[in-house]
Amino acid sequence: MTGSLARKSLQLIPTVLGVMTLVFLMLRLLPGDAASYIAGENAPQAAIDAMRESLGLNKPLEEQYFSFITNTLQLDFGRSIVNGRPVIDMIKSALPTTLLIGFVSLIFSFLIAVPLGAIAAYLASKGKGAFDQGLTMVVMVIDMVPGFWLALVLLLLLSLQTQLLPATGPLEWGDPVSLAKRIALPVIVLSVGPLATIARITRTAVLEVLNEDYIRMARAMGTPDRSVLFQHALRNAALPVVTIAGLGFGRLLGGTVIIESIFALPGMGTILINGINGRDYPVVQGLVLMYASMFVFVNLATDLIYTKVDPRVKF
């Protein structure tokens, strides 16, 4: 299996290389002159020239590309123009926050969405489709609610008006209760998207599985309905759910950018936005690369999990 893992990783190399190339080109494709854009339109010429020098934009393109790739592979994303810190350090300090809210949201969505979808499918298969229809519609509508808008609404209702949950403040890593309250609002908002997707796909998958012969076989051997649903059906329904969950992670990552900004969380998204607004392109570059790598990695992990779950599929 490690051999296949190596092989799969190798297949990703062109894509990863492409990603790095795209990010490299992004800045060099800026309309106009990158250096003056970053230094500011009103900066004196000397400052602009100095900026160009420090960014290495004077060197020939191939040389820039080569050093970019080698630096990136060593996780050297350069230094922030605004505060001079190595970008990789900025990422390191922000990463835990983003990972925390990202994973807690994902797990939270799963815990709610999977049972809901499974039960909805089960009831529908018995002819009692009301719950299923209701759930599907509700989930659909919820998914269309703009995340940042929902964040503001919840912020207003649960924090500003009622003081139930905090809206700002540091993350108390040592204090689980305080931490939980601090991330509760962002997690709720971030979970909505994955919850909708996972509930829908679980419901569809379970519904299809329940029509399969082996489910009928299990029932013919006297397996009680609860076991049929949770031990037999879900095992098979997990397959498409895992695939879609991997894709949903991408949406989740995108969501963290906005949510961190609204709830003043010191995560990668905040740094990215600040970087963009401050025209701090090494920061922007490093973070975009980081996000893309995380996404690629998660997709690889999803493939891996899939082969563990479905014995028919060889890695």
Binding site: V23, Q133, V141, M144, P146, V153, R251, I258, V284
Partner: protein, 295 residues
Amino acid sequence: MSVVSTPANLRIPASLPLPDFSGLRRLMGHQRSLIGLAIVLPIVVIALAGPYLPIADPLETNPTVSLQGPSLDHPLGTDKIGRDVLSRIIAGARTSLFVGFSVATIAVGAGIVLGTLSGFLSKWVDTAVMSVVDVFLAFPGLLLAIAMVAVFGAGTWQVILAIAISDIPRAIRLQRSMVLGLKTRPFIDAARMAHAPSWWILVRHVVPSTIAPMLVVASIYAANAILVEASLSFLGLGITPPEPSWGNLIKDGQQYLQTGWWISTFPGIAILIISIGLHLVSDGIRERLDPMMRS
């Protein structure tokens, strides 16, 4: 999900967040489309007619009526400098809808062209195109849009381009998979045997079968684009004041959440309504598609 009855070569892949209004299953597909259109079209009309409507001027500031809640004079309230929220939402609708439909058109257009070429031409072309597509798809959607906007700068066309760039790869992939499926069907062989030139086969036979599924996703792309534009504008990266868009309207209200909740709330509801409408249209087309494809 649509995958149950459509033939394999025309199925819309599960990776797309397709709507599923099975609660309205009793209504026929075309009725769902009609409801969707009944939601979308009036909004479009109102948006276009905006300047001629007997409502307040969206730009007119009037500090004496600052931060007033919904009332008869101002049905959706006013903001800090006394501008009427309703007329600003209508003005913002123009921008947001324009972005939405432009993105959909560009994405579907590019998708059809490039996807068809990729699926129909040689393996080399296909591999090359799909490699590039894979690179773009390695980025989470919103993130790519943010990065593109960082590169292009703020502004309407920049936003349209940025969002389209994240949708085009998906459209290409979809179109390509449909074309690949159709390529092996007997009627293509029959056309070839009649010495029909390749491009003619493409245009007359292959592409028309792919139009309907692409319409389904076009509607989704539009809804998605409106949402992404709003997100970008909210972050200050997309469409910036003074030009109103639903996104920056919500941003304007962010600091007045407690004193003027209506400023942020109503634009968000507008986004929600148009999303529902567009998804209904998409779902209706998809419903019509299934029985059509079955025969």
